[in-house]
């Protein structure tokens, strides 16, 4: 559907959509690039954070390992007494702040044939050191059985030590041997315990942002430390994955206990937030340390930055919108004014006020052009009114001239109702302009009828004046009783005087004796008339009297005679008849005239004229009549 959209709206739409596109690209690039930088920074931080934590833990664990290892070597090589052994253990616990407790547990009956179990145990409690013998049958416990079977030092999985330590701990156990003959025989296990609360402390010191944290899992996936105490020793990463039906978490757990390190995305078990996780194994114990970075908190800066950038962008957008609307308004307001004014002018109100435009810009030029156009139109219309008035005056004067011209020709038919010797009919069909055709007839005396038909060269007022002069001259000279030739010679002499315009008139003048039918005539360059007989025959009255009147001053015109028999008809015409043209410029011609006359020769005189007129009109229909058409018909009855 077509909708009219304003200039302001279109400019705003175009500019703002371009700006929006540019801004979006800049914003997107900025967002992606800064996100990458932060990601890189996080990875670098995570790397160093986990490594430093691992070093811290491994440093402690390594120190913890050293004591039982040394003790094992000592026990293998040297002999020892009861008191010495217990003092050694006490020294180990006392001198190593990281060791929670330590024991030397002997194989059955290896310390004394009287005792199946012998395991003196020191541990830190209530700020001091407590001594006890491990009260239970320890041979089936991991801390005892694993190094025995593996014949190598080993860290146990964390466990709760009921009888002796009474806390959650992990134990480093080293087997020691004594030589009996040439054989090395397993004699016992030296252990050092570490409290897991201590580990918990180290790992909880890992602080990332607000809710980031670290946790440690053992070789089988048990949570050793975790900010959520419910999980510690109770759950494994696999059991949690099972509960959550999280396949990716299970995969991750498998990777972690296999000693891999890497990055993964991980949902915090504390907050449920999306986190990045760095996981790395501890080389000493084979445990795995994980450090979690909450995404949203690390991205808080970039999110804030983005929010600021978008706000600035939106503010800029609205400022630009405002500026564009203002500019567009300043352009379109005067344009609207101009448009309204132009509408008024178009409706003809030339006094409509063209609004002033303040800025000197293209719109102001347009307004100036409008003002100029208005002034020009006003002047043009004023001129036109004047010209039209003048033209109307001339036209009305021409109309009057035409009316006068027509009024001087006799137009009452029959003209002599009391004369039965002849019938007479004449007709003039003027062209649009005032023309120069004329006809006339009058009695010179009782028996002689004088008549004339003529055609003045050219048209308009000069032609009609020349025609009036000619007619007057004929009438004046005719009363002097001259024969036609002499009469025309006189008229010609008068017309030639001061005829600088070279006007001329072709004229046929005849004098008919209505008693005898004798026709005297003289033809001054006019079309020869025809005499129509009873039975359709026509003959031209050909004899010439001289050239057209007004051409040569010293021309002598000749008279000729012809006898009209009763019933014959004389047909006179001007070249308006024979030179009437059709659309293809073909002329009506003498030939068509003669044919028509031979067909209509017996009709009443009035009908001869009207039927011929109809034929000429039919011939030249659609073409404007350019010349006067005049006919004069006289039928002699005798």
């Amino acid at each position: 559907m077509y909708r009219k959209t304003g200039l302001a709206l279109r400019i705003s739409l175009l500019v703002l959509s371009s700006i929006t596109a540019i801004f979006s690209v800049v914003f997107l690039y900025n967002y992606i690039f800064s996100r990458q930088i932060i990601q890189t920074n996080i990875e670098r931080n995570a790397e160093s954070l986990t490594l430093s934590t691992i070093h811290k833990i491994d440093g402690v664990l390594g120190a913890v390992e050293r004591a039982p290892r040394n003790l094992a070597i000592f026990l293998e090589e040297l002999s020892y007494g009861d008191g010495e052994l217990i003092e050694l253990i006490k020294a180990v616990v006392q001198s190593n702040p990281d060791i929670y407790g330590a024991t030397i547990a002997f194989e059955p009956f290896k310390y004394s044939p009287n005792a199946r179990t012998f395991a003196p145990y020191y541990c830190k409690k209530k700020g001091g050191i407590e001594f006890t013998y491990i009260p239970y049958d320890y041979f089936g416990w991991d801390w005892y059985q694993l190094p025995k079977e593996l014949e190598a030092p080993v860290w146990t999985e964390p466990y709760f030590d009921e009888g002796a330590g009474g806390i959650i701990m992990a134990t480093f156990s080293v087997p020691f041997y004594r030589k009996i003959g040439s054989e090395r025989v397993l004699t016992g296990i030296v252990t050092a315990d570490i409290s897991l609360s201590w580990l918990q402390e180290i790992i909880s010191s890992v602080k990332i942002s607000d809710t980031g944290y670290g946790f440690l899992i053992s070789r089988n996936g048990t949570f050793i430390t975790h900010p959520d105490p419910q999980l510690v020793m109770n759950e494994t990463i696999f059991s949690v994955a099972e509960t959550k039906e999280d396949q990716s978490m299970r995969e991750l757990g498998r990777k972690m206990i296999n000693g891999s390190s890497g990055y993964a995305s991980f949902t915090s078990l504390l907050t449920g937030k999306k986190c990045w996780m760095r996981y790395t194994p501890l080389p000493t114990s084979g445990w795995s340390l994980a450090v979690l970075f909450p995404q949203d908190e690390l991205m808080a800066d970039i999110t804030r930055l983005n929010r600021t950038v978008i706000s600035i962008g939106l503010a800029g957008f609205f400022i630009i919108l405002l500026v564009i609307v203002l500019i567009a308004r300043s352009i379109t307001r005067p344009l609207k004014g101009l448009s309204v004014a132009a509408g008024h002018i178009a409706k003809g109100d030339l006094d409509a006020e063209i609004p002033e435009v303040k800025n000197r810009d293209e719109v102001a030029d347009l307004a100036d052009s409008f003002r100029f156009m208005k002034a020009s139109l006003k002047k043009y219309i004023a001129d036109l009114k004047e010209t039209t008035a003048a033209k109307e005056r001339i036209e009305s004067e021409l109309k009057i001239a035409h009316d006068i011209q027509m009024s001087i020709l006799p137009k009452t038919f029959p003209p002599f109702p009391d004369r039965y010797e002849f019938e007479l009919y004449a007709m003039i069909e003027p062209a649009r302009e005032v023309g120069g055709d004329l006809y006339d007839f009058f009695f010179l005396d009782e028996t002689n009828l004088c008549f004339a038909i003529g055609d003045v060269s050219g048209k308009g007022v000069p032609a009609s004046l020349f025609m009036a002069v000619t007619r007057t001259l004929i009438k004046t000279k005719a009363t002097q009783g001259l024969e036609p030739g002499k009469l025309l010679t006189r008229v010609n002499q008068d017309l030639c005087v001061d005829n600088d315009a070279m006007m001329f008139v072709t004229l046929f003048l005849g004098i008919l004796d209505v008693r005898t039918g004798e026709l005297q005539y003289s033809n001054a360059g006019h079309n020869p008339p025809y005499i129509l007989g009873h039975s359709g025959e026509t003959r031209a009255v050909k004899e010439k009297g001289g050239a057209a009147l007004g051409v040569m001053e010293d021309c002598e015109y000749r008279s000729h005679n012809v006898i009209m028999r009763p019933g014959e008809t004389l047909f006179l015409y001007t070249d308006g008849v024979t030179e009437a043209a059709d659309a293809a410029q073909n002329l009506f011609s003498d030939q068509r005239l003669v044919t028509e006359l031979s067909l209509n020769g017996n009709k009443p005189v009035r009908d001869i004229v009207s039927s011929l007129m109809a034929r000429v009109k039919a011939f030249s229909h659609e073409v404007e009549q350019t010349d006067d058409i005049t006919m004069l018909v006289i039928r002699y009855r005798g």
Partner: protein, 109 residues
Amino acid sequence: METAKRKEKTFTILSVSGRLDAITSSELEKELSAMIAGGEKSLILDFEALDYISSAGLRCILAAAKKLREKQGTLRLACLKGVVKEVFDISGFDSVIPCFNTAGGAVEG
């Protein structure tokens, strides 16, 4: 109406073609006046290709003849045919202005 000018001996021959009616006659009148004012004294109008002449056309030829006569010049007509010949014949103008069958004949006189 169109005209073409050529020289033959002392005469300037102006060939007029087309129709000489009220409008085109005034064009021809201007052209003839300019030629006569420019000193032309021996003029032949060749009507070989003229199809029609109105009374206004006759008047302009008559005016040219009169102007030339005042300057002791000559105007001759050549190759009148058909309707044009008829008009000159009827109006008696052929007795006022000398007419010739060919342009060559008009030059020879």
